[in-house]
């Protein structure tokens, strides 16, 4: 315990000296859905655990890692009480939030159809219409910079302007899938942690691991957008797309963040005047 504390302090010191950011993170993973009358997903908690594991290897401080009914519907809502700043586990408390669980697909979605984060929780309602209820980042009183959703259809390409661009209020980059109920994502045990590994690849500082040699040192250090393009199509059906969105103050800023921003960059929160997005389909 003592040695872990000393290692953490040393990691933080070295990272600070090197100018790298050590973002805080939370994960929410939901396997158990049958109390809500829908199928369980056996590998969502495992996925969230593995993502948390890699973030831990990277030295990121955890804010919360809740599972199943402890992931509340209110954790994703910007208004009401409790809301997404609820001190026990709101999604707007950390700088990175990863969610693994159900979403809800239309077949096919239209430009005004909602995107959902669908939990089965102790604090409902469980179906969160992202565009209508969410808002993330410093301009909405929170901290979130990176939102990673591994669910079904939470980021339909056809409705990005209505469902997603308005919820960027200081948020830097978000990732998710676009699909339909007949062209869907599978509950994958590996997709999320491959993504997380690329997102933290290279380590959080370029010092070849001064304190220890973390294994992530030798994984390719991809930007958030590229990490999702390289992993988001694992275990998905045909026509499903992996989507990444970045906000920027200018066109060049939005493109730069879409292509290059990493979770360890420590960039300032963007004024969301422009959006850059990219996608790749199976």
């Amino acid at each position: 315990m003592k040695s872990r504390f000393i290692t953490s302090v040393l990691l933080l010191f070295v990272a600070t000296a090197a100018g790298a950011a050590t973002p805080t993170y939370s994960t929410g993973g939901v396997d158990v859905y049958t109390p809500c009358g829908v199928p369980n997903l056996p590998w969502r908690v495992l996925s969230a655990n593995k993502v948390a594991g890699w973030f831990n290897v990277a030295g990121f401080p955890a804010v919360s890692n809740w599972r199943n009914g402890d992931v509340w519907g209110s954790d994703f809502r910007n208004t009401g009480a409790p809301d997404d700043r609820e001190p026990g586990g709101g999604s707007d408390l950390p700088q990175i939030y990863f969610y693994a669980g159900h979403g809800t697909c239309q077949d096919p979605p239209g430009p005004t159809d909602p995107d959902y984060i669908s939990v089965c929780s102790q604090v409902g309602p469980d179906f969160n219409d992202i565009g209508a209820t969410s808002g993330w980042g410093s301009q909405s009183g929170g901290n979130l910079q990176f939102l990673f959703l591994d669910a079904s259809c939470p980021m339909d390409l056809i409705s990005l302007g209505n469902e997603w661009f308005p919820v960027f209020r200081g948020l830097h980059v978000a990732t998710g899938h676009s699909g339909t109920s007949s062209h869907d994502t599978l509950d994958s045990p590996d997709r999320s942690d491959v993504f997380a590994t690329y997102a933290v690849g290279g380590g959080m500082f370029d010092l070849y691991g001064l304190v220890s040699l973390p294994i992530i040192l030798l994984y390719p250090p991809l930007s958030v957008g590229d990490a999702w393009m390289a992993s988001g199509l694992m275990d998905v059906e045909s026509e499903v797309c992996a989507v990444a969105i970045a906000a920027g103050e200018t066109e060049a800023d939005a493109i730069d963040r879409r292509e290059h921003e990493r979770v360890t960059d420590g960039r300032s929160d963007p004024i969301p005047n422009w959006f850059g997005w990219k996608w790749i389909c199976n």
Partner: protein
């Protein structure tokens, strides 16, 4: 900056030491990636490799798994590969050949086209103006089967720069033992004979097939298993994401191959009642 520079002075003491020449040769052989022969080899857990400010080449010592990254070529704002899809697939096939992957193990070779968009957003009207969409990078994706059995965890994913040199690659193609393949074929026979998938609450089986699964490319262990994979579709449209389960011949659930030999600790996973309305 000064601090960072000072700390970098420790590098020679900390970097690995063992097989730089082999790694430099391997990077050149498989990916045509050139490293200065003096580049230090770094060894961490089950990985060994080379790193510079721009380039990374690494491979696992417990699996036929290679990573390559060239930051300048892989950048989405760098000039893109302008060759045909067939040329990109030929480059990918060359990588497999040089990594000694049997040609007949390629199940499917195709090119995935990334698309990009940018636009100004009016927060009041939600209108998107100055919208521009264009084609981004192309990825060659090669998937795997052995004698008709899909190995669903294996793949080669490759992008190249404008000059046809590899920019990013994940080649994860571990050697599968005869015993695992034999078991996979036995499971395949059972499926053909009408093996019945266990029931799943609020979902119905959609596809049933015998497959080989293994640990992901980034893992500290390498587990390889033959399983029957069942995809279940939710019975109603309220939620999506299809259930994927793995079973043995007797219909007993099989845990997925591991990523970590020992899961890193990350604190409590039980929320208190504080904050509950």
């Amino acid at each position: 900056m000064k601090k960072k520079f000072a700390l970098l002075g420790f590098l020679p003491l900390l970097a690995g030491c063992c097989t730089p020449t082999q790694n430099v040769r391997l990077a050149a052989k498989i990916f045509d990636m050139k490293f200065d022969p003096a580049t230090k080899t770094v060894e961490v857990a089950n990985l060994t490799g080379l790193r510079t400010d721009n380039d990374l080449f690494s491979h696992r010592n417990d699996s036929r798994t290679y990573f390559l990254y060239d930051a300048a070529r892989a950048s989405g704002t760098a000039p893109l590969f302008s060759g045909t899809d067939e040329e990109l697939l030929a480059l990918a096939a060359g990588v497999l050949k040089r990594a000694h992957v049997p040609k007949d193990e390629v199940a499917k070779a195709r090119v995935l086209q990334e698309q990009t968009g940018v636009g100004a957003f009016d927060r009041t009207t939600h209108a998107i103006t100055d919208r521009k969409e264009s084609k981004g990078k192309r990825y060659a994706l090669l998937t795997r089967e052995i004698q008709g059995v899909p190995v669903v965890s294996s793949r080669l994913l490759l992008t190249t720069g404008y000059d046809k040199r590899a920019a990013f690659a994940e080649l994860h193609w571990p050697v599968v033992s005869k015993e695992v393949l034999r078991e996979a074929k036995r499971l395949q026979s059972l499926v053909r004979e009408g093996w019945k998938a266990p029931e799943e609450q609020a979902a119905r089986p959609e596809t049933i097939e015998a497959v080989i699964i293994h640990s992901p490319a980034m893992a500290t262990v390498m587990d390889i298993q033959a399983v029957i994979r069942v995809i279940y579709k939710p019975a109603e449209a309220r939620v999506s994401m299809k259930v994927q389960r793995f079973f043995d011949a007797n219909g007993q659930p099989v845990t997925p191959p591991r990523t970590f030999a020992k899961m890193p600790e990350f604190g409590s996973r039980k929320r208190g009642s504080q904050g509950k309305p």
